[in-house]
């Protein structure tokens, strides 16, 4: 190739092919990150609509807007959608988009795996949503306790879709975790030692390891469930000398670490956003980093607190109660670090900062109610009431949805290249914040009054009507607040002022790139000499000998794990349709298993394997090395 300027050469090398083929074949982490974000946001909207349907049913006593069966299906789909297909994937979306930019790499370590995990995520969601289209949704809540899910009590295909869609999602999430681990450990820019990584890298790295260790329990549980339901085994069936509690053990061994998987990356984003809008470096960087890691580790010793009412030895209960309270210390460390950053800085009240601070407030409330439920006698009282619903929503909306909105207001100018309306953003925040508290705070009260969760209606004489009406109103207001932000983004996409490289005067490497970034990110792989590359005097792209231009092929630079000293140059794969095809055949494999079509399943497995072989087959490089 003889193209004059390095920029042109890099563009030719890294740009995806034109047209529909390129759209499906792209392995660019920026394309895939945006798709993750959009898909996860669509699932948020779907899950939100399901929530509003439930709130309409519960707005007044003795309503019959939804039948009990429909209500069961809708609350189950709401939980499953939000927990599995929204909360973690939206954070993966930010990570897929931002991690390579933040560490100065040209792409993820396994770009084709990255494409596969996105398509697998999308198709697993579609597999799940075939169920409601057939009128046979899962109906046993997001944690689907046995024996509700036994074939005798749940003869429809709903639970089969649940089990197999989750196995599919597990494949996707595990692949993503492996990709993040290798990317963050080996692709950091020269000089970005482990002590200089942005804190978001610590949280992404931690949850990726947690994913590797926690998700197999869910896979095993879902495999057992499917075998019990359709293939005659007896893992959970008392009559077959099985044990239904085994499901709970496996599910929560996965389930509680999962809570931190949907929580830690969001705190990592707050640890980047709060300092930028406090106009100073974060206070207590090492403390935040260590408490992030410790949250991930100790997160494995709390799962039994979901099962205090099951019956177990005092020793086991004490241990897990202590574990549950210990873990709040690490979150507290982070909260105090943010507060100290604010205290010592000169805060700027942007829309993003509004969401970040609101998130901290909600997180503290949700965290406190979590400490209460970690105390065994309180837990026995509050178990399966709306108190738990209030807790989970304060924690998940406070530590996931609000940080995600903060992140959208902070990073969308980088992604779209256009600024958003700050005033509308603040309006959106206040409406959401008011609606959320109006909708969810009364749940603490009705819970303590004894209103059980997952109940499709309540009686007029129970005295719950007013508070429930308030909750429905709050839910609708929350929805309006979200709608304001959606409108804001849509308008800014067309008419927002151009953002430029670094609209917030931030410190991270991602702000060194154009907005939106070029396919190759930066012309020269940057070098880093401090924790705040854009706030120090060092010129990250200075490269007089064009050592780090790497424009001979799709190349990027690997570095050593701890010190980030340059190690080698690696070739990156070109754009290909194979990951999409492999995801489609995996989809067919699992769809076949839902209906026990053995031969279709076998054929799909063989096809997936052959696609994998073609995927890994050595092929010539793009470019002329």
């Amino acid at each position: 190739m003889t193209i004059a300027s390095p920029e042109q050469r890099l563009t030719v090398l890294w740009e995806r092919p034109k047209g529909i083929h390129g759209w499906f074949a792209t392995v660019d982490h920026k394309d895939l990150g945006v798709r993750y974000l959009v898909t996860a946001f669509v699932f948020l909207v779907i899950g939100g609509i399901e929530a509003l349907l439930m709130r309409v049913q519960l707005a007044r006593a003795d309503q019959s807007f939804l039948s009990p069966e429909t209500y069961d299906q809708i609350f189950s789909m709401h939980g499953i959608t939000m927990i599995f297909w929204y909360a973690a994937p939206i954070l993966s979306g930010f990570a897929v988009y931002l991690v390579p930019l933040m560490i100065g790499a040209r792409d993820m370590a396994f770009p084709r795996l990255n494409a596969f995990t996105y398509w697998a995520y999308l198709l697993s969601g579609m597999l799940l949503y075939i169920a409601p289209l057939m009128g046979q949704s899962p109906h046993a809540g997001w944690f689907s306790y046995m024996p509700y899910t036994d074939i005798h009590y749940s003869p429809s295909h709903g639970m089969d879709f649940y089990a197999l869609a989750l196995i599919f999602l597990t494949i996707s999430t595990t692949g993503g975790a492996a990709n993040f681990i290798v990317t963050i450990l080996r692709l950091r820019a020269p000089g970005m030692a482990i002590s200089r990584m942005p804190l978001f890298m610590y949280s992404t790295l931690t949850v990726s390891f947690v994913t590797l260790f926690a998700l197999p329990a869910l896979t095993v549980a879902c495999v057992f469930l499917e075998l019990d339901r359709r293939w005659g085994t007896h893992f959970f069936e008392i009559a077959g000398r099985g044990n239904p509690i085994l499901w709970q053990q496996l599910f929560w061994f996965f389930g509680h670490p999962w809570v931190y998987i949907v929580f830690l990356p969001a705190t990592g984003m707050l640890s980047l956003i709060v300092p930028v809008f406090s106009r100073r470096p974060v206070v207590g960087y090492p403390y935040i980093a260590f408490s992030t890691i410790l949250t991930g580790v100790v997160g494995f010793s709390v799962w039994l607190h979901h099962m205090f009412t099951v019956g177990m030895s005092d020793l086991a209960m004490s241990f897990f109660s202590a574990g549950s309270m210990t873990i709040s210390i690490f979150t507290t460390v982070q909260v105090f670090a943010w507060v100290a950053t604010l205290w010592l800085g000169r805060p700027v009240a942007t829309a993003s900062m509004h969401f970040a601070l609101g998130s901290i407030a909600l997180l503290v409330i949700g965290g406190l109610s979590g400490v209460f439920t970690g105390i065994i006698p309180v837990d026995w009282q509050a178990h399966n009431t709306y108190y738990v619903v209030a807790h989970i929503h304060y924690v998940l909306i406070g530590s996931n949805v609000f940080p995600v909105f903060a992140a959208f207001y902070y990073w969308l100018p980088k992604i779209t290249g256009r600024m958003m309306n700050e005033r509308l953003g603040k309006w959106s925040f206040w409406v959401m914040f008011a609606g959320f508290n109006l909708g969810f705070f009364p749940m603490h009260i009705v819970g303590l009054l004894g209103m059980p969760r997952r109940i499709y209606t309540f009686g007029e004489q129970q005295g719950l009507e007013q508070l429930n009406g308030l909750m429905t109103l709050g839910g609708l207001i929350l929805g309006v607040g979200i709608l304001i932000s959606i409108i804001n983004w849509a308008v800014s996409l067309r008419t927002g002022p151009l953002a430029g490289r670094n609209p917030w005067n931030s410190d991270g490497l991602e702000w060194e790139t154009d907005s939106p970034p070029k396919p190759y990110a930066t012309v020269h792989i940057p070098t880093v000499v401090s924790r705040h590359p854009l706030w120090d005097d060092h010129d990250e792209e200075a490269d007089p000998d064009n050592d780090r231009l790497l424009d001979e092929a799709r190349l990027t630079l690997t570095t050593t794990m701890l010190d980030a000293a340059p190690f080698s140059v690696v070739t990156m794969p070109g754009d290909t349709l194979l990951p999409l095809f492999a995801a489609v055949t995996t989809f067919l494999l699992l769809l076949a298993l839902v209906f026990q079509m053995i031969w279709l399943g076998m054929a799909a497995f063989v096809a997936t394997f052959l696609l994998g072989c073609a995927w890994l087959w050595p092929r010539p490089l793009k470019g002329d090395l």
Binding site: F110, V182, T233, G242, L246, P544, D547, T559, V570
Partner: protein, 208 residues
């Protein structure tokens, strides 16, 4: 600490060969796969002991050891053969490496054959449908067998890879990556034999 940190400099700057063209990501990727797969088996074993915790199983007859021990020997032997092959591949003795690889595949197929007879023997008294002991026994061994199949497919794939392809990367890496997986499958079988076969036979009964 800070003295060991890399400080970028332009002194003595370089030609294109300053950094070698080399990717060891595959090895790292395989480590993550092995980490997550290990936990898969940990969960399976934990389920085994959980189901066994309160005397609920119908049978108390420990599974026969003979086949399991022969299978253990076959798999261990295959791992040693493959380990020798890795050494050859590292020393660029590709012929010997390829031979060791196909020998490993043969031993793996032998393992699968033995498992077929072992199942046939067991099936007379125990099926996955008989009770939760049967379910978990067959689940663990079948999960392992599925991993053997995956390992064989991987090894077979490496076996047909061209010696040096257009990427100009020696085939040592894919060889090494597939071998790592095979050793893992081997180690899992040691755990399976120890916990599901040897332990009950030492106790004289299956129930805890």
């Amino acid at each position: 600490m800070s003295s060991t940190l890399y400080v970028p400099s332009h002194e003595g700057a370089a030609d294109r060969t300053r950094w070698p063209l080399e990717a060891d990501f595959g090895t790292y990727g395989m480590y993550t796969l092995i980490a997550t797969e290990s936990l898969l088996f940990v969960c399976l074993f934990a389920s085994y002991f959980f189901l066994n915790s309160d005397d609920r199983w119908a049978t108390d007859q420990p599974p026969k050891l003979t086949y399991a021990l022969i299978m253990l020997f076959v798999l261990l032997l295959s791992s040693f053969v493959l380990g020798w092959g890795e050494k050859q591949a590292g020393a660029e003795q590709y012929g010997a490496a390829r031979l060791a690889l196909w020998l490993t595949v043969l031993l793996g197929l032998g393992f699968m054959g033995l498992q077929y007879f072992e199942y046939g023997d067991h099936w007379k008294t125990l099926t996955p449908m008989s009770d939760s002991y049967g379910s978990i026994f067959y689940a663990i061994t079948t999960f392992h067998a599925a991993h053997v199949v995956m390992g064989l497919l991987m090894l077979g794939y490496v076996g047909i890879l061209p010696s040096y392809g257009p990427t100009r990367v020696p085939p040592y890496r894919p060889y090494h990556v597939a071998a790592l997986y095979w050793h893992f499958v081997d180690v899992v079988w040691i755990a399976v034999v120890g916990l599901l076969y040897i332990l009950p036979n030492l106790q004289g009964h299956v129930r805890a």
